[in-house]
């Protein structure tokens, strides 16, 4: 009995002393933190992808609260709904931001771009790029080792084993830009998703002269400049033998796609131009092989492009 009493008293005393210390410490060393930071943090997706440009979600929350304005701040993962919630919490106006998506600007599939050698090193684009120009005659294009796939935290980009080119799953892509950073060839670009996911872009980054580029890949941009002349909105620029469509100016008229002799310009998710061809050829790879039939069926679900017959 005595023993139990001693144990209870001594333990109780220790507990009391420690509690007192904890209480004093918590009061004395308390750091004030804006409660709104925690609130904002709660609505954020907590993916900690860094796509907003801040170190993780807490960093973004902190920045939102402290800046006093939401201009230029956008959570690509949560998108507009999350930004609206943050704006609610902070009593600010959310900046308008267009939904963006990662776009792979290379169509150098096994069929389009013949292999000239065989890479036998570690399966990493960064390593292959540090070694040499790649397995094909095009030293600008996709190396196909899948660094972008490894970098994606949302399972939104996958290698197509048939083409050897990564494909973006629009539904999952948050445009965080991790793949852009991972790609040593700077092939992937974050572009506006476009209305109904319709967008036109140059699916090539080859800066070689026309003849060299054409020899290396059947769908390479040869820098002929036809698209530049055709574009009624001056959205296309030609630099270093490579055309680029400025998404801000592009009105998706698809005139450039028509004139491109190489089928390099891809118009994605547009309705079939002429219902002549029955095939519902969907998406980039096929579209680029046969540029004249670029009739991409509108997809209800924005899934990874698949060739469906």
């Amino acid at each position: 009995m005595n023993l139990i009493l001693i144990a209870v008293i001594s333990l109780g005393a220790i507990a009391l002393v420690l509690a007192a210390i904890l209480y004093v410490a918590s009061k004395k060393f308390a750091v004030y933190e804006d409660p709104r930071i925690a609130q904002v943090g709660e609505v954020l997706p907590q993916a900690n992808c860094g796509g907003c440009g801040y170190p993780g979600c807490s960093g973004f929350a902190d920045a939102c609260v402290k800046a006093g304005s939401l201009d230029g701040k956008f959570c690509p993962v949560g998108g507009q709904p999350v930004m609206a919630k943050i704006a609610d919490i902070l009593g600010l106006a959310a900046g308008e931001a267009e939904p963006m998506v990662a776009v792979v600007r290379c169509n150098g599939t096994c069929a389009n771009r013949p292999r000239t050698n065989q890479y036998d090193g570690a399966k990493s684009c960064a390593i292959a790029a540090s070694l040499y120009g790649g397995e094909t005659g095009c030293s600008y294009g996709c190396l196909g080792c899948g660094d972008c796939v490894a970098a994606c935290r949302f399972d939104a980009i996958h290698m197509n084993p048939e083409t050897g080119i990564p494909e973006v799953d629009e539904a999952k892509c948050t445009a965080c830009g991790a793949c852009v950073k991972a790609c040593p060839k700077a092939i992937i670009e974050i572009r506006p998703q476009g209305k109904k996911s319709r967008r036109v872009y140059v699916s090539c980054v080859n800066k070689d002269k026309g003849a060299v580029a054409r020899k290396a890949c059947t769908v390479s941009c040869i820098g002929c400049g036809k698209c530049v002349k055709t574009c009624p909105f001056e959205a296309i620029t030609l630099e270093n033998n490579l055309a680029y469509i400025d998404p801000a100016k592009c009105k998706s008229c698809r005139k450039c796609e028509e004139v491109c002799p190489q089928g390099t310009i891809v118009a994605l998710n547009f309705p079939p131009r002429k219902p002549k061809t029955e095939e519902a050829t969907a998406a980039a790879p096929k579209a680029a092989v046969a540029p004249k039939e670029t009739a991409a069926a509108p997809k209800e679900t924005a899934e990874a492009p698949k060739v469906t017959e």
Binding site: A126, S130, L131, Y132, G133, G134, G137, V212
Partner: protein
Amino acid sequence: MLKTFSIGGVHPHENKLSAHQPIITAEVPAKAVILLGQHIGAPAKPIVAKGDVVKVGTKIAEPAGFVSAAIHSSVSGKVAKIDTIVDASGYAKPAIFIDVEGDEWEETIDRSTTLVKECELSTEEIVKKIADAGIVGLGGACFPTQVKLCPPPSFKAECVIINAVECEPYLTADHQLMLEHAEEIMVGVSILMKAVKVNKAFIGIENNKPDAIELMTKVASGYAGIEVVPLKVKYPQGGEKQLIDAITKRQVASGALPISTGAVVQNVGTAFAVYEAVQKNKPLFERVITVTGKSVAKPSNFLARIGTPMKQLIDACGGLPEDTGKVIGGGPMMGKALVNIEVPTAKGSSGILIMNRKEAKRGEAQTCIRCAKCVSACPMGLEPYLLGALSENGDFETMEKERIMDCIECGSCQFTCPANRPLLDYCRLGKGKVGAMIRARQAKK
């Protein structure tokens, strides 16, 4: 007990198939392509234009900066164009294309084979002549020689070390050069000693070349201050830091210049080129190249003009074998695999190694079993297993702390790895990234 470096090292099969093959003068190519970036540092600036007539030895490009080197025409003829060519890396690089007509040399070049022993030039004149001749380190690193001969004033050179180790398997160019031009090399070494104002030189030769050791020792006795040091065979003895350690027992501290140990290391081929440049007025436009491989019909050593397509040299050895899997510019441990065999030779081309498909294919990588063999093999005392894993996970900050920048990329770790892991691939990637990080940090300051 023979000298060697103190940490790590491996013993690859030597496979010196072309040993004792006399140096054959290769045919002058019909078209020469001379790359502008044949050295470490800025690519040279061309000083000729399309249509210009050049002779053998005409300077066609000027150094573009302090760390850069002049380039001379290796053929006579007309400049066809200045354009890009896909080099060994698969990237387009600027080069001067020359259509060959005849073989007319610059009159200033002394083409006789008589040995010129005396050199009355001053230190500055020697260094200037070496710079004018466009000489770079011929061991493979291609560091401009004149830069190495002018160390920062805070360091004092104490000795010249001549790298005649040739620790890369297969290659025999330096070995054969020593056998055929021992006297010239000695004069070249004496000139180098004069250039850095020292009176001691060591020539390090691995003892798998006993004939070269014997001959060089005999010839060296006629020259003051030159000593031949036989070394125990171990890769990578030809690494600058390893060679200094092996011969002087001094180790270059992490991040320090090799000159901090008082040693100026030059390749034996460089010594020969220095002799030719200073005594014979002959700029660097040809060099000895080993063409070898187990499937090659006739492994040979060639004296080839720079800018000769590699294919021509391979053809001279009996052509590209049927089952060729890999063509390597340089040796098997540090050489570069070629994307095509049309690429021209450069100043740093010490050999062309042809491997069949079976030899060429890497084994399948397995998981690391933590056997620590890479740690034992690393000549820099690093932990390749750890660096490889860190690089794979993208933890470059920790890699820097683990001293990735000390890595000399010798490949001993990957050579020894029982699990066939691509350790050096990942270490190189990390080294590149960490190097960029360090440069970015310095730029900020």
